[in-house]
Symmetry: C2
Subunit: 257 residues, 2 copies
């Protein structure tokens, strides 16, 4: 890849264009989720599979930290580990995701076992962890930049889920509240880092490719959920099968309540 270097602002504009084309807010599964079109069983499948993603994020971040060359950089990145792993037992993002999973009716130990997740989920998430471990620190940092687009999807998801599912409460979705402040803080750091460090065109193209890769990681997870649990609802051998009593679509004010 050759050509004149992009200005930092041009680089940022191209990063944002990737989000507009490929971020998973465009995926049909996201639309069904926040639009109130999923059954409790389908939401369980989403929570169960996404737990695996949540649980690997601090491992990914530890690999990124291992590659960052200065104490200042590693310190800035360390806040992500604090966010996800917490300061004590029972705190942090992973714990809050487990509460979300329990809130939609899943057994905590089953979720933590990751036994029932889709192979597609495992392969996509592991690809992300390996990317952080194996690629350059610049690419590893750039792959986190999907967080540029997350406040919008979180707002849509939380508002839609609270409005449309009577078994979803604010407490269940408590995971997302701190993310609305954590993600922009993380983005400020990571975006400034790539704008400063990606100086030549080759590095800039690697940054853009890293963000496309990460969008694929998120997209592939929703593809897996869509195929297995929405249409044509082909659950792979060994993966989670919702209980019959979680498969009815809960009416907003219906007899099922």
């Amino acid at each position: 890849m050759s050509g004149a270097p992009l200005s930092p602002d041009e680089l940022e504009a191209r990063l944002r264009a990737i989000g507009a084309e490929r971020y998973h807010n465009l995926h049909p599964f996201h639309k069904l989720l926040h639009g109130g079109r999923l059954t409790r069983g389908q939401i369980q499948a989403w929570a169960l599979n996404r737990y695996y993603y949540q649980s690997r994020i601090p491992i990914k971040d530890a690999y990124v930290m291992a590659r960052l060359p200065t104490a200042a950089l590693r310190r800035a990145w360390r806040s992500r580990l604090v966010d996800h792993d917490g300061e004590a037992d029972g705190t942090g993002g992973i714990e809050r995701w487990l509460k979300l999973a329990e809130g939609v009716g899943l057994d905590r130990a089953y979720v933590e076992s990751t036994d029932g997740i889709l192979p597609t989920t495992r392969f996509a998430v592991d690809a992300y962890v390996n990317f952080a471990r194996d690629r350059s620190p610049l690419e590893a940092v750039a792959s986190s930049l999907t967080e540029m687009f997350s406040p919008g999807i979180i707002a849509e998801r939380v508002q839609g889920m609270l409005a449309n599912y009577d078994f979803i409460t604010k407490d269940t979705l408590a995971y997302f509240t701190p993310r609305l402040t954590q993600a922009p803080r993380d983005v400020n750091f990571a975006l400034a880092y790539v704008k400063q460090e990606a100086r030549n065109r080759e590095q800039q193209e690697a940054v853009l490719a890293a963000l496309r890769f990460k969008c694929d990681v998120l997209w592939s997870q929703l593809d897996g959920l869509y195929l297995a649990y929405v249409d044509p609802a082909m659950v792979p051998p060994g993966a989670f099968v919702p209980d019959a009593d979680a498969s009815a679509r809960p009416a907003r004010a219906g007899a099922e309540r």
Copy 2:
């Protein structure tokens, strides 16, 4: 995992039971493929994506060889590299797969670029390569044992494709002919190896898990193809889109010929 060790024959029986439950001959995409129910464009998508799998197999096998402790074991495994990479330019399994891809109307350079493959394909195949690199040699060898089940699927695929698609010729499918003798030879070695080396129950369970993992790798690839190109035909951003002229289902003796 504890318990009494299985006898070597019990271990083999459990390996075969995994195939009966999870091998990708059970996947709806395979049934559509050999049953003559796919369009040329859908078959192109299959050939394009599977090229990535084919192209990574010798890399996987090189990792396995790097882990095998004796010259005799590595030599036995080396025949796999010869099979796939060939003895000279223009020979070997990867080359034959490229001919298959060209035979169904794809551009060779586009296939080799892997630009249009599904993220799901890339993540699943990379998971397999990483498994061979990172797990024990016993698990790496065991993960190859899906070849126990491959003569059946190959026979079904070749007979069905020749019978049902007029744009498929014996030459196009030449990839599969040597596989019918190579796979059983490879299985004889790998199966004898795991039956001998997996002595305690923990090792035997690891062998069984490795084969389940590999079945997931194959299954996830067909899941990705099914979602993107069959039902509901949601092609992820950036992936291959068949030409309009490849999307019609070719009639056996129709006007399209």
